[in-house]
């Protein structure tokens, strides 16, 4: 630490060069922050500890196909099952298709299986009592400026009403809050009463889209899933049961291999970055060879010089990288606030910072290695003589 001013002076030796290098490092880590935020958003969709004790049961042919409601009682009777609920995708549009958000019809006990969605007792009661009642997440309510008591009209894309009308109007009776900050995107959902939906829809009555089963012991989830599927084996509505986590992960992986795309881009970026800063460091060391020789003359050991140069390159990268990640964090939060909460971006938090810092140190060491070795090995006599 006592040599910090020495390293600092070395960095400030050529201010423009250091500034430009810092800015390229900054650009690279800004990109890293943004892309890693996208990647974690996709990865977290399938993660989260909350989903491991819940099973999703959908039709084996495809999850777009419905299942008979008669399965409910049979699943509930299975050993190891604590609670079962069911839901159906509605796919309604609020005002304009661009305003997309998930909306689904859910059974009354839906919230019992999702304790992480918090709702006051009064609102819970109101949802139970209001036939046309609907609940939305905090983020969604904020996005459209909805308040309790608002009437929300949705245009049906799949289910017209029996009356032939395509417009369904719901009364907003509750706004729920997701307690896991990583899963806040769950607040972009609207749910409404199954009974109203099932009675009023023109077709499909009595069928459900999917079942959610909560198991008593999460270690036995596999056996329970098999038992659920066995119920409908060889019938005309075979099912496929997975943990909620696996189901979400599978759905996300169908969009694209986001991890692969991000890794490819970041590979190109960091390769360029290493070359670029490596060249700068080599230049910086080449210019300073006589100075390094002087340092050695006054008693700095070979290792000391190596350390000084390595710390210098790590410091350079960490400085630029940290500013880059900071900017990425600001960019993500402004994007989310202004463009739309449903953007697949997760906040630039601890994990991304940890990965980023790891990368910074690693790249700093790689970049500094060759020039630092050169500095360590130089012979005082040759260096001072300019040979």
């Amino acid at each position: 630490m006592k040599y910090f001013h020495l390293i600092w002076a070395a960095l400030l030796r050529r201010k423009t060069r250091t500034a430009f290098t810092l800015l390229s490092v900054l650009a690279a880590f800004l990109l890293f922050g943004l892309l890693d935020s996208v990647r974690s958003a996709f990865a977290n969709a399938g993660a989260g500890v909350a989903g491991v004790d819940r099973l999703v049961t959908v039709s084996k042919i495809s999850f777009t196909l419905s299942l008979p409601k008669s399965l409910l009682a049979r699943i509930e009777a299975l050993p190891g099952v604590s609670k079962v609920t069911y839901a159906n995708w509605f796919g309604g549009i609020y005002q304009d298709p661009k305003n997309f958000f998930a909306n689904e019809a859910v059974a009354q006990n839906f919230l019992d299986l999702y304790p992480e969605l918090q709702l006051s007792t009064a609102e819970r009661q109101a949802f139970r009592d209001t036939r046309t009642g609907a609940l939305v997440g905090e983020k969604l309510a904020k996005r459209f400026n909805w308040k309790l008591g608002d009437k929300i009209p949705l245009q049906a894309t799949i289910f017209p009403q029996k009356s032939g009308s395509n417009t369904w109007t719901f009364d907003l009776v509750g706004i729920f809050h997701e307690i896991d900050p990583k899963q806040v995107d769950r607040e972009n959902v609207m749910v409404f009463n199954w009974d109203y939906f099932d009675e009023a829809r023109a077709f499909g009555n009595g069928n459900v889209g999917w079942y959610i089963t909560r198991v008593t012991d999460r270690n036995a989830a596999g056996q329970v899933a098999q038992a659920v599927d066995a119920l409908s084996e060889n019938s005309d509505h075979e099912t496929k049961t997975q943990t909620e986590q696996a189901f979400n992960a599978n759905l996300v992986s169908q969009f694209a291999d986001v991890g692969l795309i991000v890794a490819a881009i970041m590979g190109a970026v960091f390769f360029t970055l290493i070359l670029l800063t490596g060249n700068t460091m080599a230049q910086a060391v080449r210019e300073r060879i006589p100075e390094l020789a002087v340092l050695k003359t006054i008693g700095f050991s070979n290792r000391g010089v190596l350390g000084l140069l390595l710390v210098e390159s790590v410091l350079l990268i960490v400085l630029g990288g940290a500013i880059g990640l900071l900017l990425a964090g600001i960019a993500v939060s402004t994007l989310k606030a202004n463009v739309g909460a449903s953007l697949p971006l997760s906040p630039v938090g601890g994990e991304i910072w940890l990965r980023g810092l790891g990368l910074m140190v690693l790249i700093g060491l790689i970049v500094g290695a060759l020039p630092a070795r050169r500095g360590m090995r130089l012979r005082i006599v040759d260096a001072l003589a300019g040979r």
């Binding site: 423009t16 060069r17 430009f20 290098t21 800015l23 390229s24 490092v25 900054l26 650009a27 690279a28 800004l30 990109l31 943004l34 892309l35 084996k60 042919i61 495809s62 999850f63 777009t64 196909l65 796919g91 549009i93 298709p97 245009q155 049906a156 894309t157 799949i158 017209p160 032939g164 395509n166 077709f203 060889n234 005309d236 509505h237 075979e238 496929k240 599978n250 992986s253 169908q254 969009f255 694209a256 881009i265 190109a268 970026v269 390769f271 360029t272 970055l273 070359l275 670029l276 060249n279 700068t280 080599a282 230049q283």
Partner: protein
Amino acid sequence: MSQRRSLWRQFGTALSTLVVLLAPIALLLVASWWLLCALLLLLALWLAGTRAGHQTWSVAQVGLLTIPQRLGSSLVVVVGIAGVVAVLVAVLAMGAGFEATLKQTGTDDTVIVMRAGAQSELNSVLDHDTAILVSQLPQVVRNADSQPMASPELVLVASLPKKATGMDANVELRGVGEPAWDLRPKLRITSGRKFKPGLRELVAGKGAQAQFAGMELGSTIKLNGQSWTVVGAFESDDAYDSEVWGDADIVGPVYRRGSSTTSVTVRLHAAADLDAFKAAIASDPRLKVDAKSTRAYYSEQSAGLSRFIRILGITVGSIMAIGAVFGALNTMYAAVATRTREIATLRAIGFRGVPVVLSVLLETMLLALLGGVIGAGLAWSIFNHYTASTLGSNFSQVVFSFEVSPALLWTGLKWALAIGFVGGLFPALRAARMPVTAGLREL
């Protein structure tokens, strides 16, 4: 007072630098290839024909010939720009490929009819009577047997394992009747044969065959406990390639859909009849359906995702470009610094500022161009016709291939030149502004 004036002057310099910087970049990014060729020709004429041109060329030659001496730092410019261009072109090619696949699907004179409000075929349900009513409308073309050219189709989704991951993904299963083939003249059977009506047989699109396991000719797949045999493969170079087709009358019951369908596609006498067709639908109270030309329907489906990919590509490209600009600046400042004495000598013996500026700029732009060519070449060789798939609006995989078109390669080269311009301009200006005496004294 004088202080204020110098402030104003500084502001003016900054402003003019900005204009000098932004105008050529804007020009570069919007310029068409012939405009740039014309500029290049003018430059060549100027280099060959005028005294200043000769001077520029000889100074530039020295710069170019000494590149091997500072290979490492020159490589930074080339590789940095190659990276930007490769990533930019690859991402844009992904968006272009997806868009092209969907936009090539459909024609203006065929119309798809779905239930009112439905956004995609998967969301739509039409009962048998509606399908008949729609096909009997007068705007619909009739064939030689005076049957309407109308194809009621049932779009469903089947969950099958993907070849690459082994994980289940959704494939679009289209139940069709005989008229479906006539309505898609582009579609042709490439191997095997069409399915026989009444049998559990399937024909697979080229894309579906490539992405999903068990789609080879003669293999069977299980849908709801029943075995279906793949008897043929088809190709139509559009979104249908991602689908699997079977007989609607057999597919319907398996999915408990009875005789209902999801859409009816009809051929009109002319594309202009669409309005009359829509009016006919609106005037029939029994019909609660929407009609769109198939081209419009498929184009709409590509709009959201391809826009997202384009924004992603340009954002990532811009951030990388900023990084590359600073890399180039560093390199060229260093290059100018090592040539300080040489440039000062040139100025002392009568070379003017303009040739010095232009020669440094020329050198950077040539390095940038090399980087751009390498990057574009990389993107082209790795990603052209690279096949990928994503989840389309029917909740099923849409297979598409990256489209590295000449236009995209051109875009990549323009970005490379723009980066080279910014990266070279400031070092070039410094080289020209350097006081001759100070430069000569430099060691």
